[in-house]
């Protein structure tokens, strides 16, 4: 545990940490991915000077899935369309959802509860780490965030609270023992042409150790 380690409890009614291979007819991973956890941390506090690193994920609710089927759209508005319209001063900008329907099924998680153990790295060494640590803590205590944190998908918003490491509850009975979760997305390497990087996730008594992003255990 580093002295700037933070522990943040996240919970919500629904979550969908989509597996890349089952991204169209979504199937969620069993637990939150490091990149989704980073997303939550960044939604609460982010500055160009720091970079969040997730170290450990504690799972506190049994893994439960449910099925939903929703109407979505098939296309994105391409960047070129509006650009062209701006240049020409006329054109079509919209996307009509009822003409562009796609029904998609999803297997999402129900009633999730995690504790994220993370630290941040300073990108500017002249900064004092304590400053960012305290700022983050104050923001969490007050419930301030830049955007509503969510669990994998925007529509599955989550609640969060600051939690003392000593208060972390034991994992539920069903998660005890060792469980292989297979290759899991760690994060996208944005400096390297958006290459996804994966790690082998293993849950030990409800705790998943997340290897460092550029370590040997993370493959791309």
């Amino acid at each position: 545990m580093k002295n700037t380690s933070i522990f943040l409890r996240l919970w919500g009614d629904y979550a969908c940490f989509t597996r890349p291979e089952m991204k169209v007819e979504r199937v969620s991973y069993d637990v939150i991915t490091p990149s989704a956890a980073r997303g939550v941390l960044e939604a609460i506090y982010w500055k160009p000077q720091i970079r969040w690193c997730v170290d450990r994920i504690h799972v506190h609710a049994p893994i439960r899935f449910m099925n939903i089927r929703r109407n979505e759209v098939a296309s994105k508005i391409s960047v070129n369309g509006p650009k062209k319209s701006m240049k020409e001063g006329k054109g079509h900008l919209g996307l009509y959802v009822d003409e562009d329907r796609q029904q998609r099924a999803a297997i999402v998680l129900r009633h999730v509860d995690y504790v994220i153990e993370a630290h941040f790295e300073l990108r500017d060494q002249s900064e004092h780490p304590k400053k960012h640590y305290e700022m983050f803590k104050r923001r969490v205590d007050k419930g301030q965030h830049f955007q509503q944190p969510y669990l994998g998908c925007r529509e599955f918003s989550c609640d969060y609270e600051w939690i003392d490491p000593l208060e972390i509850a034991a994992c539920p009975e069903s998660l005890q023992g060792q469980k292989e979760l297979g290759y899991m997305l760690h994060d996208i390497d944005f400096d390297d042409d958006c290459t996804p990087r994966f790690f082998r996730a293993v849950m030990n008594d409800g705790v998943i150790e997340v290897p460092p992003f550029h370590g040997n255990e993370v493959l791309s």
């Binding site: 199937v27 099925n67 791309s220």
Partner: protein
């Protein structure tokens, strides 16, 4: 995890000498004719290699080089196998002779171009044949008229096997596959199934066939067929890095499971369910027999066999000797169609021992007296689900999946199962074996698992005169009132059950006083001995009841139906009761 376990399953199948499964770079195709030529490439005959199956002729599944024939308008000749327009420039009832000629030329040039590189006498014979073959002569061979649906392969007369099965030619093909890996326009990256750096698949081939309701030409689990699904400027399946080999292997394994001949899949609701274990186990064949037995089969021995197995399950003793290590992982995957895509309806990972225990628990929960003789100890899931709706077409797709999951995981049955059964009972007033056994299973299981849900006592298999909840005794009373009416007025079209069951089970206070008043008239019509017999039985039950509540909760309504059913069973088994009690003791 789904793709990884399927990939592992493929590797297991590939090692099994008894199972024929296509290796990477090959595929199983429906071959109906064989072009037999001599060593110089002269045509000997077109031989029909289809098998007779009933009245129809069925093409043989033969492993050939390369994947499925690509659809679309491009010219894409296959290596040493193809349809008749490519290999012979002939098509029965040809609408586009121009195109047929082009495809034959493309195929001929493709094969001739490789002649020097392969340098094998059998291959050269094929080339000679293609060089000398005149498509216009095809019309002289009437047997070709039937070739339109299937594919053709080559065979050298006097040699065993087909040309594409020759060891040297196969070796060349395999070498070709590997050489492909190094060329420049392929993307080599981490594969999330195998965990190795390999050549990535742009599309996942072969397509998955056999999911009910999906496109018959095959659909995909992994596909990115609209721009909304793509991220980070990645195209198609590069959004999810899976190697070509892993994609081939998981798709082939899934196709193997879905193939109807292998009896490894069944349908529940709108989902097609497949299942497999990590190591070979008889459970792989039994599971579908448990969930979806072939009841149409008139085979008595099969039925008996299943009955024997079910008894074993009911006893709850895991047969280690037969089934192997109870820790062996067991997977269940439910797939449902969504146009060209396939979505995962449910995915369940467990172990053999656990599945066995949960099936046993399921049977135990369902067990109730009065089982019809023909009924299996564990009615197949679809029969149970059929009780929740008027017509199986109305079955909500989500329900089937969640009931299945409840059975496999030992969790509570979905609330919807319980409430739809009650609704059906209110609608058509049929209180049959399957319905009450489901009601009992739902209530008992919920009572066992959910702490805040409390039945005062677990419901027993047969009549329990000491059951503490009054709703149960109201059900019993209702059964007795009905019986005395039946005795007093035999042959009635509509008894009190048909007219009052729904109201009595939901709002007893408004119905029971009236029923009891009517009962006085019914009793009056009976001869004294019978009258006192009925009076006594009704008296016994009434002792348990203080007051009729104005309404019953949903769980009490279930108890009401169960009380009714138990009492009804008791009325009709009365005479042999003493005997069975002795046996039980």
């Amino acid at each position: 995890m789904i793709l990884q376990s399927l990939n592992q399953f493929y590797e297991r199948l590939a090692e099994d000498p008894e199972i024929e499964i296509a290796p990477y770079g090959y595929s199983s195709q429906k071959i109906s004719f064989c072009i037999v030529i001599n060593k110089k490439g002269k045509l000997i005959q077109f031989s029909d290699i289809r098998r007779e199956a009933g009245k129809r002729m069925v093409a043989q599944e033969i492993q050939v080089c390369g994947g499925a024939k690509p659809s679309g308008s491009g010219l894409n000749p296959c290596f040493l196998w193809d349809n008749s327009s490519y290999l012979l420039g002939y098509k029965a009832d040809d609408q586009k002779p121009e195109r047929t000629r082009e495809s034959f030329e493309a195929s001929r040039d493709y094969h001739l171009g490789l002649e020097q590189e392969i340098n094998h006498p059998s291959y050269s014979a094929v080339c000679n044949f293609l060089k000398s073959w005149n498509p216009e002569l095809a019309a002289n061979h009437p047997e070709l008229a039937e070739v339109s649906t299937g594919f053709l392969v080559f065979q050298i007369s006097g040699e065993e096997g087909y040309v594409h099965e020759t060891a040297e030619i196969k070796a060349w093909w395999n070498q070709q596959l590997e050489a492909h890996q190094d060329s420049k326009d392929v993307v080599n990256a981490f594969c999330l199934v195998s965990g190795k750096r390999q050549r990535l698949a742009r599309l996942h081939e072969p397509k998955i066939k056999g999911v009910r309701g999906a496109q018959s030409a095959g659909a995909s689990i992994v596909s990115f067929n609209a721009t909304a699904y793509e991220s980070y400027h990645k195209e198609q399946s590069f959004n999810a890095p899976v190697s070509e080999q892993a994609a081939f292997q998981y798709c082939t394994a899934l196709n193997y499971l879905l193939s109807r001949d292998n009896k490894r899949s069944f349908t529940i609701g709108d989902a097609t369910v497949v299942f497999w274990t990590e190591r070979a186990s008889p459970m792989e064949h039994l599971f579908s027999a448990f969930m979806d037995p072939d009841l149409k089969a008139e085979d008595e021995s099969q039925r008996e066999n299943l009955g024997r197995l079910l008894k074993q399950v009911a006893r709850g003793q895991y047969p280690t000797q037969e089934f192997g290590d109870p820790e062996t992982p067991f997977y269940v995957l439910g797939l449902s169609p969504n146009a060209a895509r396939i979505s995962v309806r449910f995915w369940y990972m467990s172990s053999l021992g656990e599945i066995f225990a949960h099936l046993s628990q399921h049977m135990h929960d369902l067990e109730i007296c009065g089982k019809p003789e023909k009924e299996l100890a564990m009615p197949p899931l679809w029969q149970l689900l059929a009780e929740t709706v008027r017509d199986t077409k109305d079955l909500p797709p989500l329900l089937a999946g969640s009931v299945m999951k409840a059975i496999l995981s030992g969790q509570i049955y979905p609330q919807m199962l319980y409430s739809s059964i009650l609704r059906r009972i209110r609608m058509d007033r049929q209180i049959n074996y399957r319905r009450v056994s489901l009601l009992k299973a739902c209530l008992n299981r919920q009572n066992r698992i959910q702490k805040h849900f409390q039945l005062t006592k677990e419901i027993s298999v047969s009549l329990d005169p000491e059951y503490p909840d009054p709703a149960y005794h109201m059900g019993r009373l209702f059964a007795e009132l009905e019986k005395s009416q039946e005795d007093a007025l035999p042959g009635l079209n509509a008894t009190i059950k048909d007219r009052f069951f729904g109201a009595a089970s939901a709002t007893p206070a408004s119905v029971f006083p009236r029923l009891i008043r009517m009962n006085q008239h019914h009793l009056g019509k009976l001869e004294p001995a019978k009258k006192s017999y009925h009076e006594k039985r009704i008296q016994d039950i009434c002792q348990k009841l203080n007051v009729f509540p104005s309404h019953l909760t949903l769980s009490q309504q279930g108890l009401f139906a169960l009380g009714y059913y138990h009492q009804r069973q008791d009325i009709f088994t009365k005479k042999t009761k003493a005997k069975t009690d002795d046996n039980a003791a």
